[in-house]
Structures are given as C-alpha cells and as structure tokens.
Symmetry: C2
Subunit: 346 residues, 2 copies
Amino acid sequence: MLVPVTDIARPRRSARPTMKDVAARAGVGLKTVSRVVNGEPGVTADTERRVRDAITALGFRRNDSARVLRKGTTASVGLVLEDLADPFYAPLNRAVEEVARAHGALLVNGSSAEDPDRERELALALCARRVDGLIVVPTGDDHRYLAPEMAAGIATVFVDRPAGRLDADAVLSDSFGGARDGVAHLVAHGHRRIGYIGDRPHIHTAAERERGYRAAMAAAGLPVPAAWVSAGPTDPDRVRAETERLLAGPEPVTALFTGNNRVTVTVLRLLAARPRPVALVGFDDLELADLLSPGVTVVAQDAARLGRTAAELLFGRLAGADGPARRVELPTRLIVRGSGERPPAD
Amino acid sequence: MLVPVTDIARPRRSARPTMKDVAARAGVGLKTVSRVVNGEPGVTADTERRVRDAITALGFRRNDSARVLRKGTTASVGLVLEDLADPFYAPLNRAVEEVARAHGALLVNGSSAEDPDRERELALALCARRVDGLIVVPTGDDHRYLAPEMAAGIATVFVDRPAGRLDADAVLSDSFGGARDGVAHLVAHGHRRIGYIGDRPHIHTAAERERGYRAAMAAAGLPVPAAWVSAGPTDPDRVRAETERLLAGPEPVTALFTGNNRVTVTVLRLLAARPRPVALVGFDDLELADLLSPGVTVVAQDAARLGRTAAELLFGRLAGADGPARRVELPTRLIVRGSGERPPAD
C-alpha cells in the first residue's frame, strides 16, 4: 500500500494540530509525545505505536523552526549516501552541504554501504538524533519505515533513485534518456554489435540504463542477443570476465556501453591492455577522462546539481512548502571525447 | 597551554569517579551532570562550566558501553572530514565506516568545508548528538575546544593531520619523507631545476611536503630560488597561473613536484596542452593515473589504511585502552609510471 505522505505530512496551515491534540488522542502525556517525536528513549513500543497512530491520524507536523529555536541548537540535515567510496557522490555530497550551509544548517551524513538494513538503521538513527530533514540515496526498495518520521515533521527528499512504496519527493537524472542517447551515438558511428555491462537490475538507475540501451538498439532495428547484456555486481573481477566474454568468440561486439563509472574504469583498464580498439561510451563522467587517449566519451550526470536540487527542495519543505510529492528529472549530457567515435574494428 | 588529556580522560580503573562524585563537587543534581555529559539543553552556561570543571578535576569518564546499553541505541562514531568533494577522503571515509560496522556502530560524518569554525561547530554538534567517539580530519589549528568532550568520555582520534594545542591520538602519513623521496626521484633522473606547487603552508601536510621538497634539494646540493616554490590555495586558476610562471622565462624548471591530488590534476591538464615535455611527480595517487600516457608517477598515501588505523585506535580507546596519546605515522609509496622518469627537456 502507498502511504499518502503528502496528505499526512503537510496539512493545510489553517487547522494545524498541536502536540496537545496528539497527546489527547493517544491518551498519553505531552512529555510522552515529545519523547516519541524527538526519538528519545523511555517510551514502550506499544505507547510509541499509539502516539504514531495519533500523529498520522491528526496529520500532526512538528514546527521545525520553532523546534530549532527551542532546542537552541543549529538546524541539521541528514544525508544517507549509498557508497562513500564512489567518487560520483562526492560533488553531490558537497553540493548538499553548501545549500545546508547557506541555510545555516549542519549537514550530517553516513552511508548505507549498499545494505538496505543499514540504510534503515542509519536513516532512523539520524531521525532519533533529531535532524530536521533527511536526504536519502536509497539502497532498499521499501521506504515505508520513514512514513512515521515524515508524519512527525522530518522533511525527506530522495535523490539519485526514487523511494520504494512511499510517495516522497525525488530528484533523479534521466538515466533512460541518457543511456539511449549514448548507445544511439555508437550506432551513429557504424556499430551494430554493441554490448551492455551494468549494475544489478534491481537498482532503479541500472534498470533504466539497460532499458535505454535496449530502446536505442530497437530504434535502430538491431537485435540484442542475451549474451550481449551483462547486468550484475560492479566488482572488477566480474566486469573483467564479462568484458572478455563479450569481446571473444567469432562475432565479438565492436562497442561497449558501460552502465556506471565503476564499470567504466575497469573496462578502460582492460581495453588499454588490448591491441584491437573497441569503441566505448560510459555512463557517468570520470576525473581525467579527458586526458586519456582517446578521451573517454561519456553520458555525464550533473551530480552537484542533483545534490543542490534535492537540498533546495528539502529546505523548501522545511520552510513549509505544501503540495504533493514532486519528482524532478535532470537531463544528462553526452560528452564526445574520442572513445565513442571509433569505427567498428572489422 | 597543552591540555593533558591523557591524564584527565583516562584515569586508572581502580578509583573511577562517578557522576555522583561530579554532582557533589559541582554542587548540582545528578540530572544536571547527565544533561551536561549528554549535551542536552536546559543547563545555564555557568552551571555547565562548574560541571565541566568538576569533570576535569575528578577525571570523570563516562562509561560508554554502559551508556550505550542505557540509551538502548546503537553506538555511533562521528567523522569530521575536511572536504567532501576531495576523492582522497573517499577510501578513508569508507574504511572508517567498515571498522565502525565491524564494531556494530553507526558512522555519522560531515565536513568542515575547510572552515575552522565549521569544524568546531560540527564536532561539538556531533558530541551533542551523543556520538561515542570522534575522528577528525582537522582544518583548524586549535582543538582545545574538544578537551571537555574528551574529558566527558568522547574518545577522539585525529587523522591525516594532527590536533592543534591538544594532546590527542593522531594517525598521519609520512608527508615529509614521501615528498623528499619524490623529489629525490626527479633529481636521480637528472633534474636540477625542480619546482614545487602545493597547498597553503599553514596546513600541516602542506608544510611537511614543502619541507620534504627542500630537504631533497638541499641533500642534492641544489639551490631553491623563492620563485620555484609556490604554496597557496589549490584552486585551478592559481595553480594554472603558477605552473605557467614556473615553466616560463629563460631558465624554466624542467620538473614539477605537486603537493596534492588537486594540484596534480590541474597541472596534468595544463601539461597535456604543451608541446614540451615536463617531468612530474605528484603527491597522492589518482584514479586512472596509470592509464594516462605517460602514466603519472606519484607518492601514494594509503588513505584506506589511514582511516582503518584511526578507527581501530578509536575503538581501542572506547574499549578502555589507557596510556598517553599516540601518534601513528604511515609510510608513503613511490609509484613509478613514466611522468617522473622523463629526462630534463634541455
């Protein structure tokens, strides 16, 4: 079931319910409601559930600005990343921080390390530590666990990937269109046998990019044998083995489309060691990609803009912006540098 | 004055003072001491100072494990980085997270954005949000503000750069030795006119690397005209202008030693556009540095090991490891790839 967060988290200003109303409905004291809302200990699971139900029913929303003043501490925003070691998230992270800073808020972030349980644990821990808002690069595919927090007034925006089973703001890149354009670029340079190597298909961005690859092939009337599509973990060993496989045999692919920067780096290393040139277009830009020979043609996302847009959306919500959950999709950009313009080897 | 943190933060187990003792000495209630120790609001500045004084005088140290149990929440560790957009910190960040995870603790991190005030604000905000331990990549040069937190039992380890005016654990790379070896490598390949472009000299690592450059030049009996040394902000415009300057004139330098990865990237872009080859050794490795032609010879730090070592030191302290503050220095590694082996152009 889809939780209508927009209805419960952002009531009309006219009749905004108070903590008193919540306490009355839940049949508990004001302090207990405050404990639940602020994630403080000392409340039984049963009582907490009753308070959460009352909050949801009444559409209670904590007044953050007043709360920050009451707390006498700086406002803070939590950012849950997916992989701290992935350079793609560095500019996104930095951009979120700059917007938070411009709003006088502290940014506190952590990583789910691609583990849905860790994501949930971290997001709820940040809520318990009283962040005023949350930006999440989701790993899991069910985010209903955040509905009570959002109902309690913690504004939440998803970035890079949408929320699962939860109606929430999301800021994404056009993975489908970007991948389609990148593969069409290879087709335009005479390639007919084009392989795709990407991340696990349960990841929204990976699925969208594979869909874009298939759409471009279909639009060109080209077949896509199952052997040309390799979706799975992005660890170098798997990617190396799959690249070797796609480039072997009597009818090897003459071009590769790689689904993200981790895959591209591994493929570049492997291609550098091969005599026969292979055309390559990668999703995501890489530092120094312009300095390789040939330069690496990529479909670039604007990671900083993703972060900035998500953060601005979040602070808009914290400032009381009402309205239904928004989905913002940012365009990608094909950067032509040489590797994607190589003609078919045969 | 140097705060003898080791004395006040880690008293002998025998007579460990309790919150009761602190309350008695400060002449306040137990709840007040708890508020101060846990960074909760509702305590006047004057009362807080009295409690802090009592904590320091008695050498009270909060029992973290018991506290975590009492809180009924996961233990958490705060990591204060210096620049979220610098890929150097990505593996360090990831390594700290992996150690924290192995200890069942959450990692919560943020960045000072190279602003000492932000660093202080963020570090204290993390303490107020009840992290059990803190790892700091320092930007400022006076960390006495953390002494009361350390006295209250928040284990703190500095990484990449040492603490300023505070006796605390630190895990560093051998910046001096690494830079000296990198410059000696250029000397060994026939260079006599070697320029240095690095970060602002008030930064510990930058000062150490410039010192290493000067030591290698002196060891080779080579003069270092002031014009060959450029220490300042690492923004591309400044670095480009300084590189052009060092490579201009009747007696240009024939080799460059760059003080960190940000500087190296800008210099590589500029050199790629010049006909005349210039030898280059950079401090810090870069993704794809091995794929450029020539490959980039670098003095590599083990950023992951820096993070892992700091985190293990921190959890050791949290587990009650006594003893004076430790300084761990990790070796760097010269990686020969081609750019540093070019002979002098003339």
